[in-house]
Amino acid sequence: MFKHIAKTASAIAAASLLSAPALAGELVINYDGSDPAPKEAFSMVIGKFEEANPDITVKWNLFDHEGYKTSIRNFLTADAPDVAAWYAGNRMAPFVNAGLFDDVSDVWADNGLMDSMASTASSMTIDGKQWGVPYTYYQWGIYYRKDIFADLGIEVPTNWEDFLAACAKLKENDITPITIGTKYLWTAAGVFDYLNLRTNGYDVHNDLTAGKIKYTDDRIKNVFAKWAELVEPGYFIENHQAYSWQEALAPMVQGEAAMYVMGNFAVAPLREAGLTDDQLGFMQFPAITPGIPMAEEAPTDTFHIPANAKNKEDARKFLAFLASADVQTEVNKILGQLPANKNSEVADDPFIKAGFELLSNAAGLAQFYDRDAPAAMAKAGMEGFQEFMTKPERVDEILMRLDKVQEKVYK
């Protein structure tokens, strides 16, 4: 009899032990990092998070990077996860305005993020509230072939005249000065953004993407005039419209092209293709108008809590965990990017260190043309940039067309 009771009791105990994890929260996370490095970084984060919170089981859904951009609209309304990856700036505005993202100002306040993430706070803020937590960002600039520059005796240019002279010298020696692949359009926007930031500065970039400046404004026309100084002599690689950004890496690896205006994510494939750190260098985009403070592009990747999430409590725990200095150090070491938390350590890598220095001294951080401008404007704008790079003589027609789109988009 006693035996029997004991047995039952132990059975109950065992059962409750087994069911304990199932009773506690299940956290569903949707993430778009299907490339090897983000995948590895993220499974590391989840492993650590589960270790720190044994009562939470994480279920993560890995999405293809491009496909994610369309599926997020469906799952935010229909079957919301508890945490979803997205981007900062205007790119999150449609979801915030439609009430699909949760206000996470409390996570920022409780964890002192206003201080530790000061550099990205403004890009996460809409209507005075924070709508997500950034975990990584990366610098843009010019990646160049150090060895080719050294062979031809070219110094790293810091102003526009030197830059044009460097391009001319490369061209004389049958090396394409700048490689680029504009098939998917956004790479051209990187060049435009930098020309604009250097010709007119950070405020003009913001005013333009906010629809406060017309494209036919003289300041923007000046940007295109500078751009024409690169396009007309053929300093960009030919047939760039046919290449993706990855395909455009090849001429640089083969030594047929010397520079690439790109984000830091280009370093990994360039290294894989065989370029050593002696061959590959990084430089800041040169100054154009003297005296304009140097602002940089630094797109920020973020995590958000959908408004329809089921387990918001654990989701907040996850965001706080992800925001902590240690976790950001580890994640960005694997990603090869910069942590958004200023107390994190930066990985020991020449490009990441250069990027950290660049962004620490930046006069302002722009997200990127297609993240700062609304989608419809960005699409038309980037098509215009690609057309300009092909047919620079059509500049007036293109700018007038963009003005028309602008009128419709920012009503």
Binding site: E66, K69, T70, R73, T77, P94, F95, N97, A98, L100, T182, K183, Y184, L185, E238, N239, H240, Q241, A242, A250, P251, D370, A375, A376, A378, K379, E383, G384, Q386, E387, T390, R401, K408
Partner: protein, 311 residues
């Protein structure tokens, strides 16, 4: 009392039965049609009206819809990209028709009894079996201006290869060429089956009357291939309108929108990464629908005529 009750019950049940029985012939076909009809109304007819309805709104798919009346259509008629897509649609329709005569001549060529002809026939049919996506990928490699086969051919005599997919004037023709490859194979197989049914008597009679070569083809063979030709034209028109996947794979509508067709433009404005103008996309869909209605009505009328004369 009880008797009359019973008879009444019997009477009503007989009445019920007879309603079903009486109308059995009228009801049965509707019952059998019901599953298909319901699906068709739910998934085909209703969305058409839904699209027309949405085209009067400004809507990003997430927030509230705002009624804008005909504004989307007004914008459409001033939209340079819309006309360019429409023009490309016409180019696709015209160029795709080449598949019919080319398919016919390959079929005539293969319609002989040589050892191993079955193998040749299946090799010619092969491109139709491959997915459009693969065809698009393979052709974009052909066209690759640095390593593609076209670049290789040009490099034989030091020529500069044209970057077909990067040039606003060539790009649509480049994609059509890729699409023609499987489409020709499709037409060929239609004509091959048609040729099997060509009556040998008539060919023999024609030969006795001294018909040869072109005259034989034109006056004896082709009239007998009319049903096959009709189907070939129909599937080619459909193929031209289905050009979406090739464009999406090879250029994404680029460079700067020069290779878009209406279907792709609609997808781009309504559903792609930078789109989500549902109302505007729906307006494009409505216009595309109206254009296709012309063709569909012609097709239906033609089939009706045939059935009338055949029946």
């Amino acid at each position: 009392m009880s008797m009359s009750n019973d008879s009444m019950a019997i009477h009503t049940s007989a009445n019920k039965q007879s309603f079903l029985r009486k109308n059995k012939l009228a009801i049965a076909p509707w019952l059998f049609l019901a599953p298909g009809l319901i699906m068709f109304i739910l998934y085909v007819i209703a969305p058409i009206f839904q699209s027309i309805w949405i085209s009067f709104f400004e809507w990003d798919g997430l927030s509230e819809k705002t009624w804008v009346g005909m504004a989307n259509y007004h914008e459409l008629f001033e939209d340079r990209d819309f006309y360019r897509s429409l023009k490309n649609n016409v180019i696709w329709l015209v160029m795709y028709m080449l598949a019919v005569p080319i398919g016919l001549f390959i079929a005539l060529f293969l319609n002989q009894n040589v050892w191993g002809i079955r193998l040749y026939k299946s090799l010619f049919f092969f491109p139709f079996v491959i997915s459009q996506v693969v065809v698009g990928l393979v052709f974009s490699w052909f066209y690759d201006p640095s390593n593609g086969i076209i670049a290789l051919i040009y490099s034989l005599w030091d020529g500069k290869p044209p970057a077909i997919l990067a040039n606003e004037d060539y790009v649509t023709y480049g994609i059509i060429a890729a699409g023609l490859w499987p489409q020709i194979a499709y037409c060929m197989i239609l004509f091959l089956t048609g040729l099997n049914n060509v009556s040998p008597d008539q060919v023999e009679a024609g030969r006795l009357d001294g018909a040869k070569g072109w005259r034989m083809l034109w006056h004896v063979i082709l009239p007998q291939l009319r049903p096959a030709t009709f189907i070939a034209v129909v599937v080619t028109v459909i193929g031209a309108l289905r050009s979406f996947d090739l464009i999406s794979i090879m250029t994404q509508g680029g460079p700067y929108g020069s290779s878009r067709v209406l279907a792709y433009y609609m997808y781009e404005t309504a559903l792609s990464e930078y789109g989500y103008r549902m109302g505007y996309g729906a307006a494009i869909a409505v216009i595309l629908f109206l254009i296709m209605m012309v063709y569909i009505s012609f097709l239906l009328w033609r089939m009706y005529q045939q059935e009338k004369s055949g029946g």
